[in-house]
Symmetry: C2
Subunit: 311 residues, 2 copies
Amino acid sequence: MAKDDQEKAGTPRYPYFTEENSEQVVNARMTADTDPRLREIMTILVKHMHAAVKEIKPSHDEWLKGIEFLTRIGHMCTDWRQEFILLSDTLGVSMLVDAINHHRPAGTTPNTILGPFHVDHAPHYDNGANICLDGKGEPMVVRGRVLDEQGAPVAGATLDVWQTNDDGFYDVQQKGLQPDWNLRGVFTSDAEGQYWLRTVKPRFYPIPDDGPVGQMLAALGRHPNRAAHIHFIVTAPKFDPVITHIFSPDCQYLAEDAVFGVKNELIGELQRITDPEVAARLGVAAPAWLVEWDFVLAPQTTGSVEKAERV
Amino acid sequence: MAKDDQEKAGTPRYPYFTEENSEQVVNARMTADTDPRLREIMTILVKHMHAAVKEIKPSHDEWLKGIEFLTRIGHMCTDWRQEFILLSDTLGVSMLVDAINHHRPAGTTPNTILGPFHVDHAPHYDNGANICLDGKGEPMVVRGRVLDEQGAPVAGATLDVWQTNDDGFYDVQQKGLQPDWNLRGVFTSDAEGQYWLRTVKPRFYPIPDDGPVGQMLAALGRHPNRAAHIHFIVTAPKFDPVITHIFSPDCQYLAEDAVFGVKNELIGELQRITDPEVAARLGVAAPAWLVEWDFVLAPQTTGSVEKAERV
């Protein structure tokens, strides 16, 4: 061992790393010209990482299992599969980031998770079009209005809609098996803010669970299913874009959506249409489903232009 | 929007996810038969992850940059490159895990980081052997004793030694360029607990910094250099195995080792040998360096058998 009274070169600018000072020593290593926001983010990340390690007290083998888990997740990621986003989704991080970035006035339609299956440039349809191109599932009409906070109609709003087919897959998951653009479309609200479209009743479906995140869910006793929903992105000039869902009220997974996307305000009401004449007026054959759903937009705030461009 | 008075199916067993209850909702999803240790680990991880997100308030783009950073790290990992371990090392997590798992009595030799360059089954040498096979660098003799806490010699202890060559690379990083097993060897303490070996003065070297972790260090204004050191693993029956270093006291990076491995108690003392006769008795040519270094072993505790097997 070194003698205590020995003169040492390389006099430390700060104390050597110990269990007690670990967070401070690591964060002190950043230099003065580090980007201030990066400095802030790293400081908080290191603080919580070290606090978590001190609380977990992982054995070397547990630490190594963590390293291996992250490595398997990384190796699962390709251009068409993002396993780290699935990890973020299933641990509630994605919904938390969404919530933090979308504080909206009460009474306006809240955001929920975007998910990995949105595709840009879906076909534009006139109101009333049927986006179900494979003929599977129970016919459903969705109609309503796009409104501002005062209840005034928002004309010319764009409604980008997508959902799985009745087998529980998005078209992009079954290229060649489903018609291209099956269950996707872009609609526009009319002068009274009204929109309407024909589709099928959505069903629950599993997130991709054949990778390490699926293994994690299994180890935690969790299923991979998302509660049945239809995706919408609603945009209009001078309003905050809304990335949202309508959830089916009768889905068995409503209370345990695998990615925590359900909000009370986003659960729809299903009306059963059995009268053939009523169904015919809606453009469908009885029996069918009807969902009446209004989107209430908040005014554009600072930063929401960037969000709109992102979408 | 859904009517508030509407009857909903799928009555939640717990409240829907909100910014406020996010940690509780995610952790409540684990089922009762989840392995208790896994439950404990996940509960703590989710708590700190959500707390970090709430404190950082990442924009969607910042969150995506984080996802992309982790993905690049995963893609950098191969059988011979572990970028997640480099991340753990450079953020002090590896040293913290090591510290938590190796609380030893005062006066015994502390652990430090193992690093990725240990290789099993290095050649066994008699005391006095020279492990420097490429002839580069300044000759150095390391000698001392392996002792127990009472200062009694520990005979038959195994000392597994490795270091970089004078160009700053381990043999395994330069297969074909360095002799096999250059600067690696296994020695055994004699009846008086003594060991001695010939090598070269260690020098600082960078951790692999051509990947995302190197980019992170650059963004934080940090260099990738490890303070100059020699690695040792010292094992003996009935004692706690020690994974440790001797650091060179004159290294310019002592105070800012890239992986936070330096401890005050691990900084050696360098003696300059200029007298040709003294050097000859040490088996080297003057000028040369001498480091006298004792390892003090702690008694084996519960769990250290597993550690010994791991090493």
